[in-house]
Amino acid sequence: MSRRDDISSNIDWLTVFLFFAIAIMGWMNIFAAVYDEASHQSIFDLSLNSGKQLLFIGTSIILIIVIMVVDFKFYDTFGYFIYGGIILILVFVLVFGREVAGSKSWFELGFIRFQPSEFAKFATSMAVAKYISSMGFRMDRLSKQLVLFAIIGTPAILIILQGDTGTAMVYSVFILVFFREGMSPTLLILGTAAAIIFILTLLVPNHLYLYIGIVAIGAIVVAFIKKKTVAKIAFVLAGVLIIAGVIRSVDYVISDILKPHQQNRIKALINPDADPLGYGWNVTQSKIAIGSGGFSGKGFLKGTQTKFDFVPEQSTDFIFCTIGEEHGWLGSLVIIFLFVTLLLRIIYIAERQKWRFARVYGYCVACIIFFHFAVNIGMTIGLFPVIGIPLPLFSYGGSSLWGFAILIFVLLKLDSHRMQVLVH
């Protein structure tokens, strides 16, 4: 046995520590969210979400051991099979799944209930990593790009069909991975620009100003072009027209394409005070809970807004409210610091991989966690529309926790064998 085979010395213990630190804090905050002073509950009570979450953390350890035991080449070898399998399950769920809260994304096996879409992120990451690391892959080829978009698009569309648009949106974050692997930034910039224009259109009631602004920017760009060729001017002109079209289409998108509850979430983001009891309720109450925490919070189990059910979905999507209310800005700082450390550590791990498969996969893990982190906290403090996705490792939920455990520990498994890959 060489030292290289000894997993415990090669594993990245910092990531393991961060994983458990976040999970344990999540568990305690889940308890705080469901805590009722009057009934003298225990954090271990299995009838409470906190007790169940502890069970989920416990079972995730079994999952981690299995991942560590399985040969590291398994993932590379069977990447497409895993991906294909999960796509089949997603189709299967769509046909036979159980509907929970308007989404047909649950799958029931006897007494176990789980959400295949939580595992689809892992499978898609596998497929993306495998495809990018495959022989003869070139990011600058349009055909290769199309295949990549098909790989992330397929599960996303199936999940949208299940009625869980929030989870489907996570797949857009793979564009960041593609960017890291050499794709032109145009798509990323265009996407961001479109989003900014979209939001601006909603915020500025009189669109005339926007049109004037766009034309002005176009004129300035034309003025700065040194060699004014017809083609370049036409290109800018086309750009201006396209943006104007986007502005024009926003109203159409909002009122005709989005479902009413999705429209309301966007309205709530822009002006939650317009209907604080209706569509603005979640955001308003969430901000009240977090905002009332002050600098150092009300203290563990002392939160009133979460405890008295003012914040909806408080142990799952709005778990961050508990931190904000009971531990204040300092507590929020600690949590955000832990997540940023975890994300930067994962990127560090990805970057030290010599094997492209492992590196791409590492970036997939970082970007998925980042997307969840940004969107989840962003929505609780009113910076993002309400999209029902959990805070990784923190929110209550078995499928979610296991999904992220798999994502992270498969990377750690691959990382622990990085020296062997050199030999390989």
Partner: protein, 601 residues
């Protein structure tokens, strides 16, 4: 290139984290509005309304009490996820009514409770109470309204109604809230502070469904409500009711006072109204009717109606002159019918005869002697000095200024002063010949019935009075307000009052009062008055006290447009005395005569 992309991604992560921390800092640390919102989310202020004090008569009989009234109130902010069908079934209303009422409530206020259904019956209340938990935003508010055991004494008691916008603005102590009840007149107004008690406030913690989760901070900020103090009035409710019965169909007033204490035994104002009309649900409707009634039932005549005193005033003139030493009981003045006319009673009188016969020229002379004592050789100046002196004496009888009874809106009457005449004559000189009509209680003099009753009490007491008052005990103290325990002496010595008593006894014994005011076993002292009211019939006036020795009751009676004082007023006064002293009348024919009400023939 590839390397820079690695950093771009890391930069994006760090920028997002920093944006979050800045935003969190702004809502958590910089902006206190969220902390306040959190408190208003969970803390619900529950106001506990105190019981308004009860009002009893002098013998402990209950007059005014409280009746609970249950309203269903709604706070539109808290109305969420309501099973409207179930609600409508429970309260027996239609869906349309429900929506309409809720809209009206929202229009009033989103966060303040407003009444959704008024005055639920006790039966309904028991039925719905348990289901209220299912309807967040709805609650039962118990309030009390005033109820009255007898349909009497309305003008003295006053009424209670919701505090008005103007009253709220004037409430500098900031006690009242919109929708609070407040005494608006009478005792209810005067003793508002004692009767209302003190509101209590409880801060409750409630969860999102409105379910009670206990006291905020263990009740540290709660205050208990303190019930209002009960009042024991000086009113004898039987006498009061009898008086109202006698005055029924007439316009006027009856005031009965216990002279040794100033306690008002009866305060009758006619016409009047049933106090139960100005309470509860029909308040506004009835108030409009009563206040527009041409007979003015809200006009509290014993305190607010001003009349010329008439010949009763001659007793005061006599007392002042005796004190000044310008006459004595044997002073004889011939009745020369000049400068004032007189009725035919004889060639001249001494003092007692002049009072009982109400001789006008006699008191013209008496007043002239008081006013023109020759202190100054200038007649004008002498009159000024004399009138000032006279004025001081007359005012010491409680005339010309409000007595200070424990009711609002008391009128002051008028005792003309030097300044008054200066004003009236526009600073041109005036002397006694310009003002002498005040000598016989005509001219500028004005009095209100309660002042005349008080004057009778002064004579009965031989020289002093207590300010007439309606409340003898506040709470369990057994004491009235301190100003009602203070003796007020007139400027006339006690010894001079014997002549007044003697004359008043003679009025009833053998004078104008002998036919209708004389009682078999009780020696009544009285004086008739007839207040000219041309072109309408005169007002009938009578003041009296009884018994002559150690008087127990004084009465002043005004009956408007009823002719001579010896008829209507004297009859009513003597009946009141009988009722109070022996409990019934032994002269049914007089009672019959009063109730028939035909005094002018």
């Amino acid at each position: 290139m590839e390397d820079s992309r690695k950093y771009i991604i890391q930069l994006i992560i760090i920028v997002v984290a920093i944006i979050f921390l800045i935003k969190l800092f702004s809502i958590q640390v910089l902006d206190s509005k969220y902390a306040q919102a959190a408190n208003s989310n969970i803390i619900h202020k529950v106001v506990e309304y105190p019981y308004r004090g009860l009002i009893y008569d002098r013998n402990g009989e209950l007059i005014v009490y409280n009746t609970p009234q249950y309203n269903l109130v709604v706070v539109p902010k808290d109305v969420r996820h309501i099973d409207t069908v179930k609600f409508c079934q429970l309260f027996n209303i239609t869906k349309a009514e429900f929506e309409e009422k809720l809209q009206a409530a929202k229009k009033f206020s989103y966060v303040q409770p407003s009444i959704f259904l008024k005055q639920l019956s006790n039966k309904d209340l028991a039925r719905v109470e348990d289901y209220l938990v299912d309807f967040p935003g709805f609650d039962i508010h118990a309030r009390t309204t005033r109820s009255y055991t007898h349909p009497t004494l309305s003008n003295a008691l006053g009424y209670v109604s919701e505090v008005s916008k103007r009253q709220l603005e004037r409430d500098t102590a900031d006690y009242y809230r919109q929708g609070d009840y407040m005494g608006q007149s009478g005792i209810e107004y005067f003793y508002e502070r004692q009767l209302r008690g003190k509101r209590g406030v409880k801060y409750k913690i409630k969860n999102v469904k409105g379910v009670d989760k206990g006291d905020f901070e263990d009740g540290e900020y709660d205050t208990l409500s303190i019930p209002g103090k009960n009042l024991t009035t000086t009113i004898d409710i039987n006498l009061q009711q009898y008086g109202e019965e006698l005055l029924k169909g007439k316009s006027g007033s009856i005031v009965a006072i216990e002279p040794s204490t100033g306690e008002i035994l009866a305060l009758v104002s006619g016409p009047s109204y049933d106090p139960n009309l100005l309470t509860g649900r029909q308040y506004s409707q009835n108030f409009a009717l009563i206040s527009q009634d041409t007979a003015k039932p809200l006009f509290n005549r014993p305190l607010m109606a001003q009349y010329r005193p008439g010949s009763i005033f001659k007793i005061i003139q006599a007392l002042v002159a005796l004190q000044e030493g310008v006459i004595n009981r044997n002073t004889y003045i011939p009745c020369i019918m000049y400068p004032m006319k007189c009725h035919y009673h004889g060639p001249g009188e001494t003092l007692v005869g002049a009072i009982t016969q109400s001789c006008n020229p006699y008191f013209y002379n008496v007043m002239k002697r008081v006013v023109n004592q020759g202190i100054s050789s200038d007649t004008y100046e002498d009159t000024r000095i004399g009138l000032e002196n006279w004025d001081r004496h007359v005012r010491s009888f409680g005339l010309g200024a409000p007595l200070g009874i424990d009711l609002p809106n008391e009128k002051q009457g008028l005792v003309p002063s030097v300044e008054y005449y200066d004003r009236a004559y526009n600073n041109r000189p005036w002397k006694f010949s310009n003002i002498y009509s005040i000598a016989i209680g005509e001219g500028e003099n004005l009095v209100v019935p309660i002042q005349m009753a008080n004057f009778a009490a002064i004579v009965a007491n031989r020289g002093y009075y207590y300010i007439p008052h309606l409340v003898k005990s506040i709470g369990d103290s057994g004491e009235p307000l301190p100003q009602y325990k203070e003796k007020h002496f007139t400027t006339v010595d006690s010894k001079h009052f014997d002549i007044a008593v003697e004359a008043m006894a003679k009025v009833v014994e053998s004078g104008t009062g002998q036919y209708r005011a004389k009682l078999k076993d009780i020696e009544v002292c009285g004086k008739t008055g007839t207040v000219q009211n041309t072109p309408l019939p005169d007002h009938s006036v009578f003041i009296a006290f009884a018994p002559k020795v150690n008087p127990k009751i004084v009465v002043s009676v005004y009956v408007e447009n009823a002719g001579q004082g010896a008829r209507a007023a004297a009859s009513i006064a003597s009946l009141m005395i009988e009722k109070y002293l022996i409990g019934h009348t032994e002269r049914p024919q007089i009672e019959e005569y009063v109730k028939r009400g035909e005094f002018i023939y």
